[in-house]
C-alpha cells in the first residue's frame, strides 16, 4: 500500500521518526491516547455524509451495527474529550487510518497519522499560532510550501450581511461546494428568475389561502415530511421572490473575498480593504492580524506562508476557522506532510449530541509520517 518499504532499515528509521514526533507532542504536555480501529459508523456518516461513506471501509456486525475502519482520529478524540468533561486538555495519537482512493490513484488506502488535538484556551489567535508552530517544528525543516486560510473570513462575511436566516443557512452550508455556492448567490440575488410557472401557481395558491385545499386533494400524505412543512416552505419561496436577500454589493463582497490569494502578511490589509462598514469582517481581519503577530513571536517566518480565502473550501468540511497545509515545494499534486485547523463547530455539535450545552474551543493538526519520512530520505534531510 504505502510506497515505503516495511522491512529492513527503512522500517527502523520510520519507527524512530514516529517516536520523535510523539515525543515532541508529549513534551509540550499532550496525553498520548489510544483510539480503537473500528468505530461506530452512524455518527460519522451523519456528520460527514455520503462523501465519507464512499471513502471509508464499512463492515456490518450483526450485533454492533455498522462499524467503520478509522478514517480519522479527530472525531473519536473529541468524543473522548467531551466524556472526560475537562475544559483544557491536549491529546496526541499515532496510528493508521484507512481511506478508499479513486481508480488508478497512486495515493495509499492505508497510512499512518500522528497528530495533536488541543482543547480550551480563549485566545484563539494565540492557540492557532501555538498549534501551527508545534506542527511546523515537528516537521522539522522550513523549506516548505505552506498554504493557510481562515474559514472564519467567509463565515463572518456571510453572518454580517443584512439577510434573513434562510439565506445565511444556504450560503453557509454551500460554502464547501463552489459550484452550488455560486448558484445560491444567483438565486438570492434574483429569486423570481429561478421560480418556474408551476411554482408561481403554488405560490399564488398560498397567497390566496388555497394551498391547503390543493395539498388535501392528494388523499395520501405519506412519510415524515408533513403538509405543514410544505406550506412553510412555500411561504419561504414566496418571501424569496418578494424580498431579494442579496444586493449587488453583497455578492461583490463575497466574490472579491474569494479571490484573495496573497502572502499571509498582506492578508489582513487585503481584507480590511473590502470591509466598508462590515463589523463582522473587521473582527475577522483583526483576528488574522493577531494570529500573524503570535506566529512571528513564536519565531515562524510568516513571509513564506501563503493565504487563500478559498483554500480548504472543497475538502475540509467542519473546519470553521484557521486552516493550514504544509508540503514540498515545486511538487504539484503531492500529498502534504501536514495539515490542520480549527474546528470549534464540530466540538459544539458533538457536545450537544452527548448532552452537554457547553463546548470548548478546538484546534488540531496531523502529520503523515510516511510521506514526511520518505521526503526527508530523498532529500537527505536528517
Amino acid at each position: 500500500m504505502s510506497r515505503l518499504s516495511s522491512i529492513g532499515n527503512d522500517r527502523i528509521s520510520l519507527k524512530r521518526e514516529l517516536e520523535r514526533l510523539i515525543s515532541i507532542f508529549e513534551k509540550i504536555g499532550s496525553n498520548y491516547v489510544e483510539i480503537p480501529t473500528l468505530l461506530q459508523s452512524d455518527l460519522l456518516l451523519d456528520l460527514y455524509g455520503e462523501e465519507l461513506n464512499s471513502r471509508t471501509y464499512i463492515f456490518n456486525d450483526p450485533v454492533k451495527g455498522n462499524l467503520m475502519l478509522r478514517p480519522d482520529f479527530t472525531v473519536p478524540i473529541v468524543q473522548l474529550h467531551i466524556k472526560n468533561n475537562t475544559k483544557n486538555a491536549q491529546y496526541c495519537y499515532s496510528g493508521k487510518v484507512w481511506r478508499k482512493q479513486d481508480y488508478l490513484s497512486s495515493r495509499p488506502s492505508e497510512y499512518l497519522q500522528v497528530g495533536i488535538e488541543c482543547f480550551g484556551g480563549s485566545d484563539i489567535a494565540k492557540e492557532d499560532a501555538k498549534l501551527f508552530s508545534t506542527i511546523s517544528k515537528a516537521v522539522g525543516f522550513t523549506d516548505l510550501k505552506i498554504v493557510t486560510s481562515d474559514l472564519g473570513v467567509l463565515r463572518s462575511a456571510i453572518n454580517g450581511l443584512e439577510i434573513n436566516q434562510r439565506c445565511k443557512n444556504a450560503l453557509l452550508r454551500q460554502l464547501w461546494r463552489p459550484k452550488r455556492f455560486l448558484h445560491v448567490l444567483k438565486y438570492f440575488s434574483n429569486s423570481i428568475h429561478f421560480i418556474n410557472n408551476e411554482k408561481k401557481e403554488i405560490i399564488d395558491l398560498f397567497k390566496s389561502g388555497k394551498l391547503i385545499e390543493k395539498i388535501n386533494s392528494y388523499n395520501s400524505t405519506i412519510g415524515l415530511r408533513t403538509r405543514k412543512d410544505i406550506i412553510e416552505r412555500v411561504s419561504e419561496l414566496s418571501n424569496d421572490i418578494v424580498n431579494n436577500q442579496l444586493q449587488e454589493n453583497d455578492v461583490k463582497l463575497l466574490q472579491n473575498l474569494l479571490k484573495i490569494s496573497c502572502s499571509l502578511v498582506d492578508a489582513p490589509k487585503n481584507i480590511q480593504k473590502l470591509t466598508y462598514s462590515h463589523d463582522y469582517l473587521k473582527k475577522a481581519a483583526i483576528l488574522l492580524e493577531n494570529r500573524l503577530d503570535n506566529l512571528s513571536e513564536l519565531g515562524i517566518n510568516v513571509k513564506q506562508i501563503d493565504f487563500e480565502v478559498s483554500f480548504g473550501r472543497t475538502s475540509m468540511e467542519y473546519y470553521d476557522g484557521f486552516v493550514f497545509e504544509m508540503g514540498p515545494k515545486k511538487q504539484i499534486n503531492s500529498i502534504p506532510f501536514a495539515q490542520g485547523g480549527r474546528y470549534n463547530e464540530l466540538t459544539r455539535i458533538l457536545s450537544r449530541l452527548q448532552g452537554y450545552h457547553k463546548s470548548t474551543n478546538s484546534v488540531g493538526g496531523i502529520i503523515r509520517p510516511e510521506i514526511l519520512h520518505n521526503f526527508k530520505l530523498n532529500q537527505g534531510i536528517k
Partner: protein, 228 residues
C-alpha cells in the same frame, strides 16, 4: 466460451426470444426451475443461467466471457466499467430509467434545487439527514455529488423500495422504472427532470474475450452482426 443470461422470469423469456429472432436457438429444460440450457449449433458456447444482478461481477472476475444484463447494473456494479467490459449490442428490451421519486403531495418539489432545499430544512427540523432509499448506491451517489446535494444520506434497499416512505424509513426513492406504475401505486411521483440513467438490456463481453475466440465462435458473432 461462457455466456450468462437472465435465469428466470419475463426477462429470460424476452432474451430467449431475442436470440431466436436472430436465428440462435437456446434450448432450455421444460422444467422452469432447472438452470440447464445450451445453444443449438454452437456447442462451444457454454450457457449459464444467472440472476442479471450477478452478471457484472462474473464478467469482471472472468467467470463469464459474455453476459446479457441491464446497462444500469453494469454501471452500478463496475466502477469505470469501460475499462473492463465492452457493450456489444443493445437488445431494445428491458428499457427503464433510473429516476428520483418523492411523495406525490410534495407539490413544491420538482427538481434537484427543491430537493436540496427540502433536505436542508428537513435536517434542521428532524436532526438527521434526508433519507434516500436505493439499491443503486454508486450511480445515485455520483449523480448527487455532481450536483452538489447536501444533507441527505443513502439508505440501502434491495427490494420493495417504494414502500419505505410509507413506513417512514425513507423520504425519497431512487429506483429503476419502466412505466412508473409502481411509483403511482405507492403514491409517489417521479421528479420531472432528465433521468439519472436510461437503461436497457444489452450483451456485454469482458475485454479479454478476443484472445479466446475460435473459428466456430466467429459464426455466433456474425449471426448477431457484431464486429469484435
Amino acid at each position: 466460451m461462457k455466456l450468462g443470461i437472465p435465469s428466470k422470469g419475463r426477462l429470460k423469456k424476452e432474451v430467449l426470444n431475442w436470440f431466436n429472432n436472430k436465428g440462435i436457438k437456446i434450448l432450455t429444460s421444460d422444467d422452469d426451475r432447472s438452470y440447464a440450457a445450451k445453444v443449438a449449433d454452437f456447442p462451444n458456447i457454454q450457457l449459464v443461467l444467472v440472476p442479471p444482478i450477478e452478471i457484472p461481477s462474473l464478467l469482471l472476475k472472468g467467470d463469464l466471457d459474455l453476459g446479457v444484463t441491464g446497462q444500469d447494473l453494469i454501471e452500478e456494479k463496475i466502477p469505470e466499467w469501460k475499462k473492463y467490459v465492452k457493450e456489444l449490442i443493445k437488445f431494445g428490451i428491458g428499457r427503464a430509467d433510473l429516476v428520483i421519486a418523492v411523495p406525490e403531495f410534495w407539490i413544491d418539489v420538482n427538481n434537484l434545487e427543491d430537493l436540496d432545499d427540502v433536505a436542508n430544512i428537513f435536517r434542521r427540523k428532524m436532526g438527521f439527514r434526508l433519507r434516500i432509499a436505493t439499491k443503486y448506491h454508486n450511480l445515485a451517489r455520483m449523480y448527487l455529488r455532481e450536483f452538489g446535494m447536501t444533507d441527505f444520506k443513502l439508505i440501502d434497499s434491495q427490494g420493495a423500495t417504494e414502500g419505505l416512505i410509507k413506513n417512514e424509513a425513507a423520504e425519497v426513492v431512487i429506483d429503476i422504472s419502466s412505466t412508473g406504475q409502481t411509483f403511482k401505486s405507492n403514491k409517489l411521483k417521479v421528479l420531472p427532470i432528465k433521468p439519472i440513467k436510461k437503461s436497457e438490456v444489452a450483451l456485454f463481453s469482458s475485454l479479454k474475450i478476443e484472445k479466446k475466440i475460435n473459428f466456430s465462435d466467429r459464426a455466433f458473432f456474425e449471426k448477431l452482426s457484431i464486429n469484435l
